[in-house]
């Protein structure tokens, strides 16, 4: 059962719509926890031994594993189910969003303008001239119809409403009651690794609906928190959502590769599983921009998903690259994140990559027989 907080901007659901969402969430949990591990068993107990018997060696690359596994009937079954569950996840949230869209847009306008009791209200700055990068426009990331950046109607917020509930179903509720897991993960990291760090200005790059921006603003109430993203509908929603939750965040529509903030504007620059949605060349520019925006002594923290260590793990972690429109993320396999930060101008003693193993249960791991976050840390 997905425990999810019904804040002011979430579309209400009918009896059937709610059942549909709960089933998709349960199905995905079942696929992750019960079926997905079978791929590793099939590979280690059948596919790899058969290959070795035929060739006298084990598969030596992710590519060879892909050639073998995509012909395996068990993998094919799981993959077809995984793909369909992802499509149904969006279908189950699009229905209620579409049904209530005019009222939701109206609500977003009102929430956006509303003052927050006892504090400064959040702001929204859109740039209709911003060029949305090709890694966003080439295909709709994660199969979300229309992507995160397309306006289909005036003052559209549909992409945000769909994303909010959709990503929660994606991990069977594992992202938390306000989709706060990734923000919480970095907050926990900073509390442990830098207990005295008290940022006064924070930038959340690729913030989407601001689910992590809100976590940072609550954790450091004295800090001014900015969230940026390339998508207008998702930012309108982020602004209204933060207002509905009573948290002040300043959202702006910008590309993290080149922002309009002056040098040294922030004590802390963060992103949450965003880097793999950019391209290999964009990544270095995002890291260089992070560095430019940091004050001396400031911290950069980019949270990333694992890409696998063995050939089989790499193949599985790239399932989304081939089947879930994470088209550009393949470049992340075997990429040395620390090395990319050096290319972006950080000195070797300013950079490290830490690993952090979250307490996820088997229904939330999706592609790995092990799971850990990578955290790219840069210090100015």
């Amino acid at each position: 059962m997905t425990q999810f907080k019904q804040h002011g901007m979430l579309p209400a659901t009918t009896h059937d719509e709610a059942s549909r969402q709960e089933f998709v969430s349960a199905l995905r949990g079942h696929l992750s926890g019960r079926l997905m591990p079978g791929n590793y068993r099939v590979f280690h107990e059948r596919v790899e031994p058969a290959f070795k018997a035929r060739t006298g060696r084990n598969p030596e690359s992710e590519h060879e594993v892909r050639e073998l596994m995509t012909r395996n009937p068990f993998y094919q079954f799981w993959s077809a189910m995984q793909r369909r569950s992802q499509e149904m996840l969006w279908e189950s949230v699009i229905d209620p969003t579409e049904r209530q869209l005019p009222a939701l847009i109206d609500k977003a306008r009102k929430l956006g303008a509303r003052p927050l009791p006892g504090k400064r209200k959040g702001t929204l700055r859109l740039d209709p001239k911003l060029e949305v990068p090709r890694y966003h426009t080439a295909a709709d990331i994660h199969l979300q119809p229309g992507g995160y950046h397309t306006d289909f109607t005036a003052d559209d917020i549909a992409a945000g409403a769909i994303y909010d509930k959709g990503i929660n179903l994606y991990m069977g509720g594992g992202l938390g009651e306000e989709n706060n897991l990734t923000g919480d993960t970095l907050v926990a990291y900073i509390r442990k690794a830098h207990p005295d760090f008290a940022p006064r200005s924070i930038l959340d790059m690729g913030c989407a609906i601001g689910n992590s921006s809100v976590v940072w603003a609550r954790e450091f109430p004295k800090a001014r928190v900015h969230g940026l993203d390339v998508g207008a509908p998702i930012l309108r929603y982020a602004h209204a959502r933060a207002q509905a939750l009573g948290v002040a965040v300043d959202f702006s529509q910008q590309n993290a590769e080149h922002t309009d903030f002056p040098d040294g504007s922030f004590d802390l620059v963060v992103s949450h599983i965003v880097l793999h949605e950019t391209s290999k060349s964009a990544l270095v520019r995002v890291l260089a921009e992070s560095r430019r925006l940091l004050r001396p002594g400031g911290l950069m923290l980019h949270l990333e998903i694992p890409r696998g260590r063995t050939h089989m793990q790499k193949f599985m972690f790239n399932w989304e690259a081939y089947n879930n429109n994470e088209t550009f993320s393949r470049y992340m396999t075997d990429l040395d994140l620390g090395g990319e930060a050096l290319k972006a101008g950080f000195a070797p003693d300013q950079v490290r990559v830490d690993q952090f193993t979250p307490e996820l249960d088997d229904t939330q791991k999706n592609y790995g027989d092990e799971f850990f976050w990578n955290i790219l840390v840069g210090r100015r």
Binding site: R20, S85, E87, I94, E98, G147, T153, N325
Partner: protein, 124 residues
Amino acid sequence: MSSPADPVKPPPTRPKGHRPVVFDDPAIDQLHAAYVTLATELAVAFERIDTLERLLERHAGVTREEIEGFEADGAVAESRATRRADLAQRLLRPFREFREDQIARAEHARSEPGRAPDEPSHGS
């Protein structure tokens, strides 16, 4: 920016991008997609039935035991039997047509000895 009075256009329902084909025969991909949908709708129906049963219990005094112990007899049993047979008929229709197709192709192959016969069918 257009005015709030403009009609609101809904988001699209299909994502931009190529849909991968997993199985050798793309028809199997479609079959998988269809039955996952069917399972979802079944879950939706189960939940609605559960809601109805609970409301009946709460407001109409119909107990769970009564529902569990309900015996269909006479016309009710007959109507249910007809409905079950109809479902089986509909469900197995593609398989029946597939079998007939296989038989027709095997007969065709026998009548043209120069061509390799189809593989034997595995039961039906």
